[in-house]
Point group: C2
Chain length 419, copies 2
């Protein structure tokens, strides 16, 4: 169980120049994306770098929902720059790209596939020292500021995969809720759904002591270890915050209390899933994003089709938890209660249906697209979606209930329409 350092508070971003001075940084790489480069979070960082005379180069070419190619572009920039510290200002796409840039520029002889999760890549352990990376999240969803995970779209295989190693975890996460005030409504919603699923999946993941085989050396333990008494604390706490604040944060950009709480919940859920792992919603989400056809979500200012990560995750959640509940029904029921269900007369064997219904109502209230059909998929796509899920073993094997290809087909089919 490893947890990053985080600093929390309105305005704490202004200290980042001092942090870099304290780290002795002489050549800093500031990563962000084109939209953010014009917005207050990046301005706050630039002001602090100027105030403390920090020498830096900015890379604002991060792709929203990054690909192997966009990772490689950032890595090339990082290798050329010979940086001694990194700052990532953005959502998961920026933070993940920056982790990859830091990793591969610190390990310049490695092939890209060396560190990519098996079975797609070689999943080699990271043994080189990395440079310090300070992450400044601007969304309330990914929790990437607390995790050792970097996710990208592998274009050739049309599938999302990633790199997972404690070594790429940021040195410091600066959680400044002021940054969430610039988030548009759908970005708040979709990133919030990611928090919701991080919490639900890590709380219901296969328990850490039921994983097998048990690695013979602790150094070979995966970053995702299964649910455990520590990640449970974070998952439940994050879920309670989501239940209380997500709707408010989406509906009212001026609701600072709600947005600040969701910003913290994102980090809390990150600490939880960063150790416990996620399972089927995330495993199935990668082909949902990777196989996107023409869907362009509202509020995302990008030039390519994309299914936002949080949306790709949450659309299967009712079906997934109806499927997994038989393994830990009491946990599923507890989650449903936290999300507002009245469980006083509930039967334990109905836990899955109750949580699924609660999630459907939650999503309906928030105007979420009506299932996979609403974002461009049909029954004919199911075999491809299943095929894209199979390589996601790293997470799917953490499902509390093992699943066959037929099970996955049924889960996708049940997720075509929600309401």
């Amino acid at each position: 169980m490893a947890i990053s350092n985080i600093r929390y508070g309105e305005g704490v971003t202004k200290e980042i120049g001092m942090d870099l001075q304290n780290l002795g940084a002489k050549r800093v790489c500031l990563m962000t994306d084109k939209n953010l480069s014009q917005l207050p979070p990046v301005n706050a960082v630039l002001n602090s770098l100027a105030k403390y005379g920090i020498n830096f180069q900015m890379y604002d070419n991060v792709r929203v929902e990054p690909t192997d190619q966009s990772f490689l572009d950032a890595i090339t920039f990082a290798k050329k720059g010979e940086f001694d510290a990194y700052v990532a200002v953005g959502g998961g796409s920026v933070m993940d790209t920056c982790k990859a840039a830091n990793l591969y520029s610190s390990s310049p002889m490695s092939d890209f596939l060396d560190y990519v999760n098996a079975p797609i890549g070689k999943g080699k352990p990271v043994t080189v020292p990395l440079k310090p990376l300070i992450a400044v999240p601007t969304t309330a969803g990914t929790g990437s500021e607390t995790t050792g995970v970097a996710i990208f779209d592998f274009k050739e295989l049309k599938v999302k995969t990633g790199i997972a190693s404690r070594a790429i975890k940021p040195t410091l996460g600066i959680i400044d809720p002021l940054h969430t005030l610039s988030m548009p409504e759908r970005i708040v919603a979709n990133s919030g759904f990611d928090v919701l699923c991080h919490a639900l999946e890590s709380y219901t993941a296969l328990p850490y002591n039921m994983r097998s085989p048990c690695p013979s050396n602790p150094i070979n333990r995966p970053a995702y270890q299964g649910s455990n008494p520590i990640s449970d604390v974070w998952a439940l706490h994050a879920l309670r915050i989501v239940a209380k604040y997500l709707k408010r944060a989406i509906r009212n950009p001026e609701d600072r209390e709600a947005r600040a709480n969701m910003h913290l919940a994102s980090a809390f859920a990150g600490i939880g899933f960063g150790n416990a792992g996620v399972h089927l919603c995330h495993g199935m989400s990668y082909p949902i994003s990777g196989l996107v056809k023409t869907y362009k979500p509202k509020d995302y200012n990008v030039d390519h089709s994309l299914v936002p990560h949080g949306l790709s995750v949450v659309l299967t959640s009712p079906a997934v938890f109806a499927f997994t509940a038989q393994m830990h029904p009491e946990r599923h029921l507890e989650a449903a209660e936290i999300l507002g269900a009245d469980i006083r007369t509930a039967r334990i064997k109905d836990a899955g249906f109750i949580l699924a219904d609660t999630l459907r109502k939650f999503l309906f209230d928030l105007n979420v697209d009506d299932g996979l059909a609403a974002i461009g998929y049909s029954k004919a796509d199911i075999p491809a979606l299943v095929k894209g899920t199979l390589p996601q073993e790293r997470v799917t094997k953490l499902s509390p209930r093992p699943q066959t290809e037929e099970d996955l087909s049924a889960l996708f089919e049940a997720s075509m329409k929600l309401y």
Copy 2:
């Protein structure tokens, strides 16, 4: 907010030889105390070191409730040994001694007072790199495996003080609940009271954003930052476990569930107070321990008088929380409820009395000595106890309610007799 790595599970101690191999350790210092050196936790470590061929030297001269002199003895051993890794197997006394040995042998030119907390020492920041330290707690109390704090008795001044720096935090805490099965009844009780007070004090500590002055550079922030949204999660969670399991853990050594849960609660509360800090119970406890006359507690196999740390902390807790409640009455009431009080008809202005009564009942049920008088103090000692509290600014200033010398006198007087 910085959190150590911890590993949890029955039997995980057997992996420690592999961990040391993974760290590339060639000369390991194993620290423990004379009693423990004959007991199963040390045996488990020795077996693993032998199995993996780890070269080590054992230092079993750690003093229970260490002093400046006992720290110096351990430091001398460490300097001579030129170790490249440390393993501490024991309670807070062992872990704290090992942290000091690691620190001063890594900074051989420093005077002992350089790193001791101001105003007693110079409180210099630690800038030298330390060796890896793996902590294996054998009590369920201190949480020292998760903190950057090392406490000792400064004999000359008859006062407890310590060293506080994130730099001395263990690299890894191995929380193996099997080790708590060898704890005698009073050690379970007293170390459990430490968990109780860590949780209560860190939850009621001055909030992080009300501390002043605010350091101009984040590197100068103290380890103890005041209560905050993250430490609150740990404090409340630990308090709930204490409420549920402490009595069971004390009364029945065979109650593995209770002892395992208290072992985890100790680490949880450690993560909470290690970031938020503690306040008056701890600040006042240092002279209570430091000025001990002839008290020899049951179940402690030592050749000197001592007031166990947990006991010295908990005896003032009813008076302290009756005093501090006016600043955060709702938090005090919430704590009382978690500890079993019926607060349905409680008035908020009675929060302090309610929590104090709840604590008195809790302690009475557990056969705790009836106040400071029962451990050898009288009214005549109060001026010396107050004088010994005044240098404990590092913690007393985290009290939510500022206190005068008269206030401290009144708190000691109110703690002479509890029932």
